[in-house]
């Protein structure tokens, strides 16, 4: 029985890689669809088992397995391997768990997909699981960056899974390019850091940083560049615009990549390099402010969305802002804790939303309603996820949210703290808006009969077992984490005691969340408050939010004016300057040739005449010059 967490983590890492290689190489197996799916799920299950054991075996000790990769004059420049410590094995377990459940769930969700498409889906899924685990376990910046780009690629491939849909292809490209903009910053940061310290290795860098051996000059630029990578990947303002569009992909993909794992890679990166960022408090302040601002912006946007997946997408952006604020306030552990609980309940919410979409065949909230009676299982687990997200005691997100608010308050960031309190209210409001609109109230049967036909007419029902089991597992885990952390509340101390929030914090945070729920209940369930008059009261904000605060337009305008303008200028230079010179030269050659063609008479005697005259001139020249 293996007990080394490093080896176990390596097994967890390599199983999805094996699955990917087999599915990628063995095309006949891939085209069969379902067997490919079960093979991939089997590997994911084995990976999960290994990850759990690695986590259980790990404890607080660190296990490193390294292989030299880029040899250089003064020793190895870069190595690959696994770095298994408490944080990375925990994150590894989350990734393996959600990947396994999502793959299981996808069998039911994509049952209408043709077999080759299904095989392709599971190939990408396996590649993603491998890449994400390689990112989590990366022992140095080089492997981290490679895995970082690989998950970006998988995200692109899976958003554009239905590539026949123009919106999906567009969204995939948009996601790829916008995250790439941040990745350029990350790459620059990594190289600058290497120039400063001479190593990519996390372990050595940490020793340098904590020993005070790292020169502080220029370090702010480096950490800011690394943060830029996190801004792109974790959808922070202003690069958050790709995440809502990424919802064009299949819903299980949104649950895995765009809620639970990949988008949290930025938060994870900052958690991993916490000791580096601690040296540059001014960058941390930027992280906190941008995080809080992103949280508020996305929460406001989530309130006006009619697409159930877009509400969840903006909610993800908002919660990522929460985590970033905690890291900015100097308590990365709180952000990481929220990352884990959020991974559980947001995957649950997305998979629940997927079940609803699967049953109703629409993303639009106005096409749902009264689903609680028809889909009781889905309704219950969705409610668990919603309560977790709202931060209600005994549910998943409660304590992690408290930790973040406490950390931000104790860190002296009053502004971000107030923003986050508003976000807590809005979070509860928009999530319960979804719950009341989708699961309660009157069923919107008109749409269903109109679009789905007689077979399913008016009978949305709970999903099959392969989809229900992952939902229940995630719901149970959200609840389990919530109950145990709430019970153990005072024992579960993340960070030193002075970073704890004041006593009034927990009641007020819960009160704010309850107020949000109450507001949603009055508006969308009891209809005491008219939704349209509520909308009118917030008229300008609502209009701005419906236009996505014009951020997409600004990007598009920048693209139009900047990039296209530049392209036109370059095109003009090419067309008129470069081509012009060449055209003038060739035209001149042509006319010159035309002018001298008369010399060529074709009569041999003229040539003899020329030769004779030339010889004569030559002789005279020899006579006069050489004499």
């Amino acid at each position: 029985m293996m007990t080394d967490p490093g080896l176990l983590a390596l097994v967890a890492l390599l199983l999805p890689a094996l699955s990917f290689l087999v599915l990628a190489v063995a095309a006949p197996l891939r085209r069969l669809g379902r067997p490919a799916a079960w093979f991939s799920i089997l590997c994911a299950g084995g990976s999960l088992a290994a990850a759990v054991q690695a986590w259980a075996a790990g404890g607080d000790d660190v296990s490193r397995l390294l292989w030299a990769w880029l040899p250089a004059g003064g020793g190895t420049l870069a190595s690959v391997g696994v770095l298994a410590d408490a944080d990375s094995t925990l994150m590894l377990t989350l990734v393996a768990l959600v990947a396994f459940l999502v793959q299981l769930y996808s069998v039911g969700y994509l049952s209408d997909e043709p077999p080759p498409g299904l095989g392709r889906y599971y190939t990408y899924q396996s590649l993603f699981a491998f890449s994400m685990m390689a990112l989590v376990l990366a022992p140095n910046f080089v492997q981290l960056f490679i895995a970082w780009e690989l998950v970006g690629l998988c995200s692109y491939l899976l958003i554009g899974f239905w590539y026949q849909k123009p919106e999906a292809a567009r969204a995939a490209t948009k996601a790829f390019w916008i995250t790439k903009a941040g990745d350029v910053g990350l790459l620059i940061g990594i190289v600058l850091l290497w120039r400063q310290s001479g190593t990519f290795d996390f372990f050595e860098l940490r020793l340098l940083a904590e020993g005070g051996a790292l020169p502080l000059a220029g370090l702010s630029l480096i950490t800011f560049c690394i943060y830029l990578g996190a801004v792109g990947k974790s959808a922070q303002f202003p690069l958050h615009v790709w995440l809502p569009d990424a919802m064009e992909g299949p819903t299980p993909v949104s649950a895995l990549i765009h809620a639970a794992t990949m988008v949290t890679a930025g938060v994870y990166l900052l958690t991993r390099t916490e000791w580096l960022f601690a040296l540059t408090p001014e960058v941390l302040a930027v992280v906190a402010w941008i995080g809080a601002f992103t949280a508020l912006l996305a929460a406001v946007l989530a309130c006006v969305q009619d697409d159930i997946k877009r509400v969840l997408a903006y909610s993800t952006v908002s919660q990522l802002g929460y985590m970033m604020t905690a890291i900015g306030a100097g308590l990365a552990a709180a952000g990481f804790f929220h990352l884990l609980t959020h991974g559980l309940f947001k995957a649950l919410l997305f998979l629940g939303a997927g079940a609803v979409i699967h049953a109703v065949h629409s993303n639009d909230l106005s096409h749902m309603g009264g689903l609680a009676r028809r889909m009781p299982h889905t309704a219950i687990v969705f409610l668990v996820g919603t309560l977790s997200l709202a931060g209600i005691p005994f549910f998943g997100g409660f304590l992690s949210k408290e930790e973040i608010l406490g950390a931000v308050w104790a860190g002296g960031f009053v502004g971000p703290f107030l923003l986050l309190m508003v976000v807590a209210l809005l979070t509860a409001f928009y999530m319960f808006r979804v719950v009341f609109l989708a699961f309660f109230g009157e069923p919107a049967t008109a749409h269903i009969t109109a679009t789905v036909g007689a077979a399913h007419a008016g009978h949305p029902h709970d999903p099959p077992a392969s989809m229900r089991v992952p939902l229940w597992i995630l719901a149970a885990m959200s609840l389990g984490v919530g109950i145990s952390s709430t019970m153990a509340g005072q024992m579960l101390q993340f960070g030193p005691a002075e970073r704890e929030g004041p006593a009034w914090l927990m009641p007020s945070a819960v009160g704010v969340a309850l107020a949000g729920i109450l507001l949603a209940w009055l508006t969308y369930q009891r209809r005491t408050i008219d939704a349209s008059s509520l909308a009118a009261a917030f008229g300008p904000i609502r209009r701005a939010a419906l236009a996505r605060f014009w951020i997409d337009d600004i990007f598009e305008g920048g693209y139009r004016v900047g990039l296209l303008g530049f392209s036109r200028a370059v095109g003009w230079v090419d067309r008129y300057l470069v081509d012009g010179v060449l055209n003038a030269l060739s035209a001149w050659t042509l006319t010159a040739g035309d002018d001298v063609r008369g010399m060529q008479t074709g009569r041999a005697q003229d040539y003899v005449y020329g030769v004779a005259v030339g010889l004569l001139v030559l002789l005279l020249w020899v006579q006069w010059v050489l004499a």
């Binding site: 063609r597 010399m599 060529q600 008479t601 074709g602 009569r603 005697q605 003899v608």
Partner: protein, 99 residues
Amino acid sequence: MSLQAYLTLAAAVFCIGLFGVMTRRNTIGILLGIELMLNAVNINLVAFARFGGDVTGLIFTVFTICITVSEAALGLAIVILLFRVRRTVTADHLDLLRG
């Protein structure tokens, strides 16, 4: 007689031959001009051999005469073929390579 007299004669024959090549309209006339130029060279070779005391020039002259004969035979054959194809041997009309 001096060497200079032979060289002057050779130069005169060469120039007459060149003049014929450049001005004759008839292709056969041009061939005759070429023969004259080649014979001017022969006079030069023989004169230098005689005055230099070296037989190389004489041997070269024999070569030149052989080559001249074959050249004349080939040239006349070409002219005959040309006449068959183009029905003319006037040099001014043979300008297919005009630019």
